[in-house]
């Protein structure tokens, strides 16, 4: 059972013995996610509202918004990302410690929203890999908490520990302008 230490839990070959250990680690990660304050625009006010006493992110163990990326493992991109801000966003994402997740809060972060113009990055997934999208402009605190819960489910069901770089290895071929009734061809690229 060679264990390549550098990859940590991911390097462990998944079998009967290590299964419970992995479940425990995933449970621990899910229960204490630390968001980094990345408040950009209006959604930041709603994010603070979610952190406030009424909607209270503390119920999910997330009330402390860490200021520096070193101590955070969840980045909530709350607000519109302008072209000038994109390199800064990427730098902060790179400086966060693994395992790290990204919630794209609000339609401006998810797809550029109502500002389809020169100044905004149309969708933050062009800059950082996004794990959960919170729709709305601004999404109410309940919507943000719902997005956080979906992220927690993703962490708990272990989908993410195989996260670094490979993803699921599915390759979606979608020709532009293709009508919905034609099947989307899925090829599993590379061995799994």
């Amino acid at each position: 059972m060679a264990w390549d230490l550098s990859k940590g839990l991911e390097g462990l070959e998944h079998n009967f013995l290590t299964g419970t250990l992995e479940e425990f680690v995933k449970w621990a990660r899910r229960m204490s996610v630390m968001p980094a304050t990345f408040g950009l625009a209006c959604c930041a006010i709603e994010m603070m509202g979610a952190g406030g006493p009424h909607y209270d992110l503390a119920r999910f163990g997330m009330e402390t918004f860490r200021a520096s990326p070193r101590q955070a493992d969840l980045m909530i991109v709350a607000g519109r990302v302008s072209q000038k801000m994109a390199p800064v966003l990427r730098q902060i994402y790179d400086q966060m410690m693994e395992p790290k997740w990204v919630i794209s809060m609000g339609v401006c972060a998810s797809t550029g929203g109502m500002f389809n113009n020169y100044a905004l990055v149309q969708g933050v997934d062009q800059v950082v890999p996004v794990d959960a999208y919170a729709p709305g402009c601004p999404p109410g605190p309940e919507t943000l908490i719902h997005a956080i819960n979906t992220l927690h489910e993703k962490i708990r069901d272990g989908h993410l520990t195989r996260r670094p770089g490979e993803g699921l290895g599915l390759h979606v071929e979608q020709k532009d302008g293709q009508r919905s009734d034609q099947p989307v061809t899925l090829t599993t690229a590379g061995s799994r």
Partner: protein
């Protein structure tokens, strides 16, 4: 209406119709003046801008410069409401001043030609105009002489072109999800 204008002192005919038709336009502080929706608008030329703003601040009590902004009249067909003596140019720098005593706002529209987009900076008279002029330079490419540090303020440093010009595209990305072609 709080900010209607008292009759200008230099005894020019008071009603607008006569002022437009008058051979030489109505003058206030030696600068042609028009009224747009009841607000007073002066039309100084570029080289008398700084002296006018300084005179307005020192003698007339227009102590604060509220706003400096630019307009690009490239594709503007309607009538621009300029008095006769002013040749309409492509760019226009609009300075808004306010007099606390008279509770009166004053707008200065300065024509800036397209081939030489420069305009004297009013930074020495109103230091508050520094960031606003940098924004007008960033958005329109109008250079301000005498400005301490004329650089871009809103766009990233390596951005070519000036976004708010009419010939700069809005940069809209075509939305991928099109309606089904043969919607029955």
């Amino acid at each position: 209406m709080a900010d209607d204008v008292e009759v200008p002192e230099d005894g020019a005919p008071s009603d607008e119709a006569a002022a437009e038709a008058a051979p030489e336009p109505e003058l206030r502080f030696g600068v042609p003046v028009t009224r747009s929706r009841g607000q007073e608008v002066l039309h100084p030329s570029r080289d008398e801008l700084v002296s006018l703003v300084r005179m307005l601040r020192d003698d007339e009590g227009y102590l604060m410069c509220l706003d400096v902004t630019g307009v690009d009249y490239l594709t503007y067909e309607a009538d621009r409401g300029l008095p006769e003596g002013i040749a309409p140019e492509r760019f226009e720098v609009v300075v808004t001043l306010i007099s606390h005593r008279a509770r009166q706002r004053l707008r200065l529209r300065v024509q800036v030609p397209e081939d030489d987009p420069t305009c004297p900076s009013i930074f020495d008279v109103h230091p508050g105009a520094e960031a606003m002029e940098r924004e007008v330079f960033d958005m329109f490419g109008i250079r301000f002489e005498g400005h301490p540090d004329l650089t871009r303020i809103l766009m990233p440093e390596d951005w070519e072109g000036h976004p708010l010009r009419k010939d700069h595209a809005i940069g809209r990305i075509p939305v991928q999800f099109k309606a089904p072609q043969d919607a029955r």
